[in-house]
Amino acid sequence: MNDLMIEAHGLGKRFGETVALDGIDLEVPTGAILGVLGPNGAGKSTAVRILTTLATPDAGWARVAGHDVVREARAVQRKIGVTAQDATIDEVLTGRQNLVMVGRLGGLRRGDARARAVELLDRFDLTDAADRVLKGYSGGMRRRLDLAAGLMTRPPVLFLDEPTTGLDPISRARMWGVIRELIADGVTLLLTTQYLDEADELADRIVVIDHGHVIANGTAADLKAQTGGARLEVTLSEPHPAAAATLDPFVAGAVHVSHDGRRLRAPVRSAGGLATTIVRALDGAGITVDDVEVHQPSLDDVFFALTGTPVEGDPAAPAAPDADLEVTPR
């Protein structure tokens, strides 16, 4: 017996000429939260589709809750809750009708399904909109309802495929709150995302996928260490010959000075009060400062550090529905 709730080995999938997954391994212990991080088209959704029995792998195997996802698909389906990237809810039904339908199809009796729907609608702040048809729901409400649908039968394993892509910051923060509550309840969770901060915020461990390969695997701290942590950007009022030397004691690498001599960049270990310290030091040296920024590492930085190439396209742009089909082979 092992205590792995999700386990995949050498998972491969191609669509015609396009290789979506090129042999990935994943392991999620019971009760753990795995963040799968990668840009559009990296293969994240394909991996989730295989693990949730929606697609069959061409190579490798996977087990969820101890059951093979291909041979024992039905047993897997009894253990999982899924929130897909494209909302998988019925546009024509109301929020409540959607939840009751999913609950009953999942095997709940009518009364149980209704009671559970009331509970989840309340928990996800959807009670007021419960009896409205979905066409009137905002993006954030749809995602929360989709998540609620995945929770109707209280599954011990949850798959969330890009739960916050395309959401505004407020809806995103709200979704994070909801996911944190789930984590507190002790479910095993696999979450895909294009945002490093999201994986950092929610996951115990992070797997980085690019072009169907796992290119890094570790905790958020491990990844940040690999990328050199945060980045400092200072803009001076006018160039100053001592500026770089003044910054040197506070940064974690070489200070890069722009051609006009006004902008300085350097990797830093983020720490409380760093910006204040920098301003004071520069001021003490008689250097006037226009702007100081400390950037937390983004997916771009992680990618640049791991692969030496920037993310193709804009990772913040809303994903195309079939994003994972647009993979270009390496």
Partner: protein, 284 residues
């Protein structure tokens, strides 16, 4: 009840959920109910089974009926009602093609596929929905017929048998339409393709006019068209004028048997085909 007091997200033991036959029936009932919510909320689909049957009945009886003289005597009104049942039920089967194709395009099918459901349930619920809407449609045609003076001239048992033959044929057609929905990329294509297949089927038949004066080729097609067999069977059972009885083609001589054979054959071919196509459309 234990589930109501358990911690909100703790896994429930499987014992509180049922699987097997009870669950299959539950799935069919739930999805059929859902399909009806769709019909009720989509004006076009709703009018297909309510307003359209009334409108067609009135238009055909009063406009077309004014110019048709039946060879063997009898009123066009009495002749027309079974034919209008055929026309309305045949064209309303397109709802299956449109509904299925809409589902296949939307994300909800993925939700169904991640649930531990009996796989063909989406199709079974669809054809059941079609039969239930056909009953509504039938009620509207017959109701309109009774209001404007159509009367069957046979026993209640025969009338019920006639309606049953129609409903069985409609069930068979819903599997044909399921296949149309499955090979269509979007609901618009399904609607168009359904119309191209079903409209000629309904029109090149004895449903609206006697076939005797059609050109030879059309007449041969019409006499062997399943819609003609079903319509003739219904006219025979309703005791309404049935000019096709004098035609020598085998289905016109044995309309009830022909209607049943056609329906059985359509189900035998298209139900497995629909299941196969569905499997193919939902596998990746």
């Amino acid at each position: 009840m234990s589930t109501a007091t358990a911690a909100p997200l703790s896994p429930a033991p499987d014992a509180t959920r049922s699987f097997g036959l009870v669950q299959k029936l539950r799935e069919v009932v739930v999805l059929t109910g859902r399909n009806f919510v769709h019909i009720a909320r989509e004006p076009l689909q709703l009018s297909d089974v309510t307003i359209q049957p009334v409108l067609f009945t009135l238009l055909f009886v009063y406009v077309l009926g004014a110019g048709v003289v039946l060879a063997g005597g009898g009123s066009y009104k009495d002749f027309a009602i079974p034919g209008l049942l055929a026309l309305n039920l045949t064209t309303s089967a397109i709802g299956t093609a449109v509904g299925l194709s809409t589902d296949l395009r939307s994300g909800v099918i993925d939700r169904f596929r991640t649930l531990p459901m009996w796989r063909p349930v989406v199709l079974v619920a669809r054809s059941l929905t079609d039969v239930l809407t056909a009953i509504i449609c039938t009620a509207f045609v017959i109701g309109t017929g009774l209001v404007i003076g159509w009367r069957p001239d046979s026993t209640a048992g025969d009338v019920i048998a006639g309606v049953a033959i129609f409903l069985f044929f409609n069930y068979a057609l819903s599997w044909v339409c399921a296949c149309i929905g499955m090979v269509s990329d979007d609901p618009e294509t399904a609607q168009g393709l359904g119309l191209v297949v079903l409209f000629p089927l309904a029109i090149v038949s004895n449903a609206l006019v006697p076939t005797a004066h059609m050109p030879a080729v059309l007449r041969a097609i019409a006499d062997w068209n399943p819609v003609s067999a079903v319509t003739a069977a219904c006219r025979h059972l309703f005791g309404n004028p049935n000019p096709s009885a004098s035609i020598h083609a085998w289905p016109m001589q044995h309309p009830v048997l022909a209607a049943l054979l056609w329906s059985v054959a359509l189900v035998a071919i298209f139900a497995p085909l629909a299941t196969l196509l569905y499997r193919r459309r939902t596998t990746d």
